[in-house]
């Protein structure tokens, strides 16, 4: 009889549950490039942009239409560069646009089972190209950080 009870217990234990693997909110993910906008005449003053249309190169959808003074740009992972077109819709006919390319190397860090890896980036030399030759709205670009490992710091400044 003991044997039988033991077996029933064994059967019950077998159907045990497994904990779901959910990456907890707040776990640092792959950081985006943090860019702030400043006035080119007074380089210490933040200068907001209004209705800036941001679109990734070869992407049909726009990333966002942005108003404010700092923005996060997600970077491509399987390429050593990302290209964005930053344009203002001044009116329906004319368009002021600048295209930018950021150059970087990627390295990955293991977080845990649920979250897997996150990517960090190190700027290459040169860190960026201004792809538009004609007159755009961007006056100057300055790199502040060499590595993109979190979103707490500003990595790049655009003066306009």
């Amino acid at each position: 009889m003991n044997f039988r009870i033991f077996f029933i217990v064994c059967l019950l234990i077998q159907s045990s549950c497994e904990r779901d693997d959910i990456c907890l909110e707040g776990t640092p993910a792959t950081p985006s490039l943090i860019v702030v906008f400043r006035d080119y005449q007074d380089t210490e003053v933040k200068k907001s942009v209004e209705n800036l249309v941001i679109q990734g190169f070869n992407q049909e959808e726009i990333l966002q239409t942005f108003t404010g003074d700092s923005i996060a740009l997600p970077l491509r992972k399987n390429f050593e560069f990302s290209q964005f077109k930053l344009s203002f819709n001044v009116d329906t006919d004319s368009l002021i646009a600048d295209s930018l390319q950021f150059n970087y190397d990627r390295f990955d860090l293991y977080i845990n089972r649920a979250c897997g890896y996150k990517s960090n980036y190190v700027f290459k030399e040169p860190s960026h190209y201004l792809l538009t030759k004609s007159e755009g709205w961007i006056q100057n670009i300055e790199k502040l950080k060499d590595t993109i490992s979190d979103e707490q710091n500003t990595h790049l400044v655009i003066y306009h």
Binding site: G56, G116, Y117
Partner: protein
């Protein structure tokens, strides 16, 4: 997975039937054997394989496993017991696809709590094992964790952190509770539940031992794990 459950259930049924038979014949033995004779119990060498691992390998194409088991009665109700196995397993764990391959050795003792009739070797046993694994972890592909999905999903298939992490090992202990029941002649069928406690493992470079051969799944939160096996063993009495 449901196929495996069916398989487990079938094996359980077979075992239950086997035990029924064994118990019915017991009273007869008792009535004949009334005089207590002091006979030296033979040393019993029992060896066999775990049935679960080859069965799982049939159902899951990303799994290979083999485990040899053995025990030897040394003194009284104490047995030295061992399990030696090899596993190769590929798993898609959330964002990472990885393969664990390697061998393990478990060595320890069992204490048989079941009072057998003379000549029988059934067991309800409690035991302890010290275990060691020798394995490799290979990251096959992964997608890095991002909150922003503006760019198309990019899976890293080669370079970066993909590749093999060699010469890893893990050490742990297992508390074993199990039974062994005679089927026919010298064949025994067994089932055991194991509670594992991980002591240490060599951390793979920029990765983790998400699975350890013999130990099973390693969780981020704690050092405990669990396992079980179904064994088919053959016993040889050795009289010295």
């Amino acid at each position: 997975m449901s196929k495996i459950r069916t398989w487990l259930f079938t094996i359980n049924l077979i075992l239950l039937c086997g035990m029924g038979n064994a118990q019915e014949s017991e009273p007869l033995l008792e009535s004949i054997d009334t005089i207590q004779k002091r006979v030296k119990k033979p040393y019993t060498l029992r060896f066999g394989i775990d049935l679960i691992k080859p069965a799982t390998a049939q159902f899951e194409k990303d799994y290979f496993g083999l485990e040899l088991v053995g025990d030897l009665r040394l003194y009284g109700d104490f047995y030295i017991a061992t399990e030696i196995g090899n596993e190769k397993r590929t798993e898609q764990s959330e964002l990472i696809n990885f393969t664990t391959a390697g061998s393990y050795v478990k060595l320890g003792f069992d204490y048989n709590m079941f009072k057998n009739w003379k000549g029988m070797n059934n067991a309800i046993h409690l035991g302890l094992r010290l275990c060691n694994s020798f394995h490799t972890q290979t990251v096959n592909s992964y997608e890095t964790y991002s909150l922003n999905h503006y760019w198309p999903t990019e899976i890293t298939q080669n370079g970066f952190q993909t590749g093999e992490r060699e010469s890893l090992n893990a050490r742990w202990a297992e508390v074993v509770v199990g039974i062994k029941v005679r089927l026919i002649d010298n064949f025994y069928m067994g089932f055991s539940l194991r509670m594992n406690r991980l002591f240490s493992d060599t951390e793979p470079n920029n990765f983790d031992n998400l699975y350890i051969p013999g130990f099973n799944r390693k969780t981020d939160e704690n050092v405990w794990g669990a396992g079980f096996n179904y064994t088919l063993t053959y016993a040889i009495p050795i009289r010295l």
